[in-house]
């Protein structure tokens, strides 16, 4: 493994200079937002092609189009010059494309061999699976990838890096020509990262094409032969190895025409409402400390996977820390479930509106009042709901957040995403909260709704509520927050205040690597 060279043997790259796979003018939009806007790209065999960009820039959508998971609105894909149709993941696999998504694709409890051969079933003449030849091939792949564990090892016993290797093995079992990897090194140690890199170099030396999606710009500069930068669904920059430096890439990702939004005036803040001290969890978070004051909006910036949602869920009692403590209004918290946190005065607006926030086949009134039903009962001793009272309350809070409908009995599923989100926020206005956590408060909502949501958040803060706002959209944080904490790889990396809060700063800080920080 380790003897694979930095500059692979050129003679191995038979079909090198022209594209093996070509994407022409692909577009995909969701509502009015273009996830991909006329993207063209050429992937060569025997080269590593890096795709980079901020969260939501379009690189993942492109990979998903190639995987047959997303179907583009327009555009074409060519393989060896011939147009191909990728309607579903099965098509993609048949064309020699493999996609490595760690969490979703391994079967826990299966051994390495069965995970590697998942879905491959060569048959003997009798129609029985030919396990012997399959096992021979798997042994070959194992040797080729220098796996340091037997095929009979249980997949759950392997390290993250070794599990990744098994997925590469699966791709090779299927004779994949192109392997796309999404953030392969996101949660690996420095030694493991080096191993991943050497495997990638070895793959391209053997004429495989690799698509490498990563947020770690240093490794992209070091590892990738071709680099494509995405911003707002478009390709904004292309480069080949040696042409670019990391600062060039940061500039390309951010864009030069960043609009400076107005900075909200920084007030004198009251007492500390939320105090997080040295919190770590099993997987990602390491020694996180932060505090939010009365009437303050604290933003949490960072890349997807930086640990922001994980932190929020620990504060809200949805998951538990392995070390450290969380204090609310000076008192140490021991939440066993979110209901305890809610009872203590914390509100939570989850990231996934459909699956974690909304009761789609229920009325707007139901959705707004579900967390504050006690306010509409006849008395404590006769817990009968007064439906009209509940509807009037719902209607009052719906008006405060400008939900665009008068009839509270309407199904919430019939509202637009923005109005649904407002209703979820109204749910927490309907009970008194000293801390409101919002995870991606304006994701997938239109500009108008976004403006209203920001206004509601600022008003809540003005009334003394402490706000913790997580957003992957840095421009959102600029206009909204008094203070921003940038998280990188499970740690608090930097804190910005007032005029320091700019999109460039937040992005540049988000892209910092762990080892650069010391």
């Amino acid at each position: 493994m380790n003897d694979s060279t930095l500059s692979p043997v050129l003679s191995a790259r038979t079909s090198s200079q022209h594209a093996w796979l070509e994407v022409r003018d692909i577009s995909k939009h969701y509502g009015g937002v273009y996830a991909l806007d006329g993207v063209s790209l050429a992937i060569r065999r025997g080269f590593v092609h890096g795709l980079i960009g901020a969260n939501g820039a379009g690189k993942s959508t492109l990979v998903r189009c190639l995987a047959g998971v997303v179907s583009p609105d327009s555009g074409e894909v060519f393989i060896e010059g011939k147009p191909v149709v990728i309607a579903d993941p099965h098509d993609a696999s048949g064309l020699g494309l493999a996609f490595i998504h760690q969490e979703v694709s391994l079967v826990p409890g299966f051994d390495v061999f069965r995970n590697m051969t998942l879905g491959i079933a060569p048959q003997t003449r009798l129609g029985v699976i030919d396990w012997r030849s399959l096992r021979r091939r798997a042994e070959g792949v194992r040797t080729r990838l220098a796996m340091r564990f037997p095929l009979s090892a249980d997949i759950d016993d392997l390290s993250t890096a070794d599990q990744w290797l098994v997925l590469i093995g699966r791709a090779l079992m299927r004779d994949a020509v192109l392997i796309a990897m999404d953030e392969p090194t996101a949660s690996l140690s420095a030694v493991e990262v080096e191993r991943v890199h050497s495997v990638v170099r070895d793959l391209v030396a053997n004429d495989v094409a690799v698509i490498y999606v990563s947020h770690r710009l240093d490794e992209v500069v070091e590892l990738c032969d071709d680099i494509t930068v995405f911003r707002d669904g478009k390709v904004v920059s292309r480069a080949t190895r040696g042409e670019v430096t990391k600062p060039d890439l940061v500039r390309a990702i951010v864009g030069r025409d960043v609009v400076e939004a107005q900075i909200p005036e920084s007030q004198l803040h009251g007492r500390v409402v939320l105090d997080v001290k040295g919190v770590s969890d099993k997987k990602l978070l390491r020694n996180v400390s932060l505090s939010v004051h009365e009437g303050e909006v604290l933003g949490l910036a960072g890349l997807v996977g930086a640990g922001r949602t994980e932190l929020a869920k620990i504060i809200y009692g949805e998951s538990h820390a392995t070390a450290g403590e969380v204090r609310l209004n000076g008192k140490k918290t021991h939440f066993r479930e979110p209901a305890d946190a809610a009872a203590a005065g914390i509100g939570f607006v989850p990231e996934e509106r459909r699956s974690e926030a909304v009761f789609a086949d229920r009325s707007i009134a139901f959705n707004i009042t579900i967390s504050s039903l006690a306010a509409s009962v006849v008395s404590r001793w006769l817990p009968l709901l007064r439906p009209r009272h509940a509807r009037i309350r719902a209607s009052k809070f719906a008006k405060e957040v400008t939900v665009n409908t008068a009839d509270m009995r309407q199904l919430i599923g019939s509202l637009s995403g923005g109005n649904q989100q407002k209703a979820v926020i109204a749910r927490w206005l309907a009970r008194s909260t000293s801390l409101l956590i919002l995870d991606e408060p304006s994701r997938g909502v239109d500009v108008g709704a976004r403006f209203e949501i920001h206004r509601v958040i600022r008003e809540l803060a003005a009334k003394g509520t402490a706000i913790l706002a997580i957003s992957s959209d840095v421009e959102e944080l600029v206009g909204l927050c008094d203070r921003v904490i940038v998280m990188v790889e499970g740690r608090v990396h930097a804190e910005l205040k007032g005029s320091e809060i700019t999109t460039e700063r937040m992005i540049a800080l988000s892209f910092t690597r762990k080892d650069e920080r010391q």
């Binding site: 809200y316 949805e318 479930e337 979110p338 209901a339 946190a341 809610a342 009872a343 939570f348 989850p350 699956s355 974690e356 926030a357 909304v358 009761f359 789609a360 086949d361 229920r362 139901f366 579900i370 967390s371 039903l373 006690a374 009962v377 817990p383 009968l384 709901l385 439906p387 749910r427």
Partner: protein, 342 residues
Amino acid sequence: MTTQNVPTEDVEGSDRRHRIWKNSSGSRQGLVLLSKYGTLVAMAVMLIVFGVFVPNGAFFTSENLINIVNQSSLTAIIASGLTIVLVVGEFDLSIGYVASLAGVLVTGLIVRQGLPLFLAAFITLLIGGGIGAVNGIVVTKARVNAVVATLGIGTVVVGLSFGYTAGSPIVAVPKSFPHLALGKIAGLPNPIWLMAFILGLLWVVLNRTPLGQRIQAVGGNRDAARLAGIRTDRTKISAFVIAGLCAALTGIMLASLLGSGTVSAADSYLMDSFAAVFLGSATLRDGEFHIVGTLIGVLIVNVGFNGLSQLGTPTFWQYIFKGGILVAAVALSTIARRYARR
């Protein structure tokens, strides 16, 4: 359960559906009506057919109609408890066995321990609710799949019944006990009054109390409910307790009706309840479990039974009818709903 999760298929099938139902809002309307009122139409058709063909007009006598409702009432009570568990998104296969245990327990406490009727009934209800709580705790805290957990606990309950009775029925109950189920108030049999009270109570609990709203929220979207600050485990356990109480009540009434406590006397209520609840979920609302639907489901089955036997149909037809109408009604409403959406 299955009936609630249809929308996931929508994406795939939407094209085809579009082609078939393009510019045919008339037939689409018809399908919506069919999916919601199909079971009611079936009921009406049955009433008409039986009214016409049962000899001497014996079907539409007040005596016969009261009889039908009376026969429905015990099933309706146990089935409405099951409805609550299904609304919360779980399953309870132990209710029939719990009802059987309640039957032998209440008679045994009266005959052997010499307890007064109301104390015996109270203790029996307590035990029924307790078994429900155990079901709920095993399902939520130990995270055992509800089908497995309640089947296992149900089997344990069968064992308890046999252990308590040593296999032979408990007879020689005092005269006051059968009166519980055979007596009348204002001309209507007691079970009808009891059913009206329990179903009314459960309707109020489900639709007009915070607990009921939480039960609906947990059943609708468990993750959202938890993140909205609802104690989902506690809510589920409450639902199981309600089901256990209803099962025990049905068991007590059945023992009173039979005048004895017999092991496995009430076992068949399990299947009858499920049939009724799923029939009911196809009524009025889109595959949602609800109390009124459950009542209608029970009534349909019993109207069919009553009419068929009065027509002199052999008994085996009644089972074919029960199974057939259940599958037909749920299938029809599911298919109609799928085509009617958008």
